[in-house]
Amino acid sequence: MNKLPLIIKREYIAKVRNKSFVVMTFLSPFLMVGMILLIAYLTQLNDNEKKVIGVLNESGYFANEFVTSEVTSYINFKDISLEQAKDSTVSLGFYGLIYLPNESNLEQVAQRAFFYSKDAPSAIVLDKLESSITGRLRQERLRELGMSPKEYAEMDRGYNINIETFDGLQNIKGINEIKAIIGGAFGYLIMMFIIIYGGFVMRSVIEEKTSRIIEVIISSVKPFHLMMGKIIGTSLAGITQFAIWIVSGAILLFIGLAIFDIDPASLTKGGGVAPGMANTANVDVDALTQNIQLYAQEIFELPIFAMLFFFIVYFVLGYLIYSSIYAAIGAAVDNETDTQQFIFPVILPLMLAIYVGFFSVFSNPNGPIAVAFSLFPLTSPIVMLMRLPWGIGEGGVPVWQLITSIVILIGTFIGIVWVAAKIYRVGILMYGKKPSYKELYKWLKYS
């Protein structure tokens, strides 16, 4: 009779009912969404604070530049000295004072203009003042050159080189970075899942050891079944947790945005940028939307289904390999403090995979380092996934590499599970001192 489903069910229920698990599952989305909302709210608050700036304009220019807007009020001082204006600014509690002296020409005025404030002024305020003055200066310079603003805009238009692959596919700048980020996200997700849920598996094994139930259980089932049941049950609990997070996170974010009346677009734009800035950037809006379309098209053309499929394959194999190691570690020790020595070598390849991925795969997805690490079984689940957004076959990951990597991974999986099961079987019945690596090796030879 197969008792594996029973064990999986118990492990799953035990994990899911665990108080800290429940708290983590339901609190995390609130924490995350709360954090996002808080940041958005604070950013908005920051923007909404209306700044009052005094203007002492002794020059004949800049009559139209400093007009009160939603974000900034300008109060004009008239017929007072600079010192008096400064005092008034302080006593009225204004944010600062812009002083435009009386000079013979605009360039001179700009040259001698000052902004006084209590503390160092914020970059946003300065940007705004500078762009106002720059705008006026440019106008004046154009007038002197006899050129209309329209002609200037024409002249200032940027240029992007056309890029294409040899196959004639249109390519766009920055797409590599986007691919890298997508691949990196997959790899990172796998690493986090392995570390968190591998740790759960390990603690669960230690718990069975310290509560001494282990001998009762393994007089009914094979240790191998218990180990696999534990690994599978825990991972199902993890998948449940992820699913709850994704669904509830999305719902909460939606509700939160509605309640606080925050425009989601303002979040993506990076709230800190002041509205006035966009005008000065002089971007060709049409070109931008065209680019976005290209990016979107490119992302849609990513091998999404292949990526998801291989994500699952590498995820399952990688998780099984690592969590068997975690289970073996849990079996070898008596308490969690003893695990450190064994955990470090386990986390090392995961970290290595992430760093190799970020530095080597992103710069050259088919370079020798990237290929080597996407074949090495302890790093391949992460590194190969980072390479996959570049496609499979021509231009991307050669099919033979993909197959070799999976074959090596499966072989390693069988080997590691075999070794882990041996250590597990001996370890769960061993109490007392922490074993050395040498002793672990000896355990492998016990029958």
Partner: protein, 312 residues
């Protein structure tokens, strides 16, 4: 087949340490079989082999006439010395889970659990978590879980540790009633009082080897040293003692002159007591005559001491 379990020449090695060396046992059906030995002798290893937690390097084990195989797990109930339960799981759920692991269906397990919980008067614990129970209470649950699937062979490793005398007695009664109902029981312990009370057969394991086994009464007979305790009512004890000196070996004497009571310990050359009784009967009033029978504890200590001397 009259044996529930037969072990032939079982040897088990852990690295350089030999845990069991050529151990052979025959455990009769429907009996309580005491597996005795000091700590670290190899009892637990033997029990783990029977439970198929580990496997012997050499030798074979037969269960109910068949070579031991995984299917037999459902026929064996095991209460390990190092026992425990999931602390944060509810009593009822946990018992159901463990019963299902032994191959019972959920409905059947529930029915039997109800019966046992009533029998041990612990019905209201169903929804409690183990961590809310005392150690003794948890032990009771553990006992129920061990016997629930009605195995042919029950293995108890130090079953009374952790119990107060009252509960220990309840468990003892349960063990005896299980035996009455036809279950064979292996009882591993180093507490000799319980051996005397429960076991019909014993085996003594020492330093990985079996050094003694058989029916407890036979073993005791074998270990009898023909010492008799005699109580006499007599006026002139000195005269009798002088007379006895030539014929019998008197080990100790103790005379109460007020009660006129003489207590003797006498070593006889054989189990034959007719001569001395005839001798004493004609000279004094015999009011006590008993052959001293060694306790299991005496046998245990004596055998192990002899063995240690042999080794030196």
């Amino acid at each position: 087949m009259s044996h529930i379990l037969v072990a032939n020449d079982v040897t088990k090695q852990f690295g350089s340490h030999t845990a069991l060396k050529n151990v052979s046992l025959e455990i009769p059906k429907n009996s309580i079989y005491g597996l005795l030995g000091p700590n670290g002798a190899g009892k637990t290893t033997l029990i783990r082999i029977i439970n198929q937690i580990t496997y012997p390097d050499q030798g074979s084990v037969y269960f109910d006439g068949e070579l031991l195989k995984p299917e037999h797990i459902a026929q064996i109930g095991y209460l390990p010395e190092e026992r425990g339960l999931y602390k944060s799981m509810k009593v009822g759920e946990q018992a159901l889970y463990l019963a299902q692991l032994k191959g019972l269906s959920k409905a059947e397990a529930k029915k039997r659990l109800k019966y046992w919980f009533e029998r041990l008067e612990i019905g209201d614990w169903w929804n409690k978590k183990i961590q809310e129970l005392s150690k003794g209470m948890a032990q009771k649950i553990q006992f129920v879980v061990t016997v629930l699937h009605e195995p042919k062979l029950l293995i108890f490793d130090e079953p009374f540790s952790g119990f107060d005398p009252i509960n220990a007695n309840i468990i003892k009664e349960q063990i005896l009633s299980l035996k009455e109902n036809g279950t064979s029981i292996i009882f591993s312990t180093h507490r000799m009082e319980s051996v005397e009370e429960l076991c019909e057969y014993i085996a003594l394991i020492h330093k990985s080897e079996k050094i003694l086994d058989g029916k407890l009464t036979d073993i005791k007979k074998e270990y009898k040293n023909n010492i008799f305790e005699i109580g006499l009512e007599i006026d002139n004890e000195q005269l009798l003692l002088n007379e006895m000196q030539d014929k019998f070996q008197v080990l100790s004497q103790d005379y109460d002159s007020i009660e006129k009571q003489l207590n003797l310990r006498v070593q006889l050359p054989s189990n034959e007591s007719r001569d001395i009784l005839a001798f004493l009967g004609s000279r004094a009033n015999v009011n006590g005559f008993k052959e001293t029978i060694p306790s299991a504890s005496d046998i245990f200590i004596k055998t192990i001491q002899n063995k240690n001397i042999d080794h030196e």
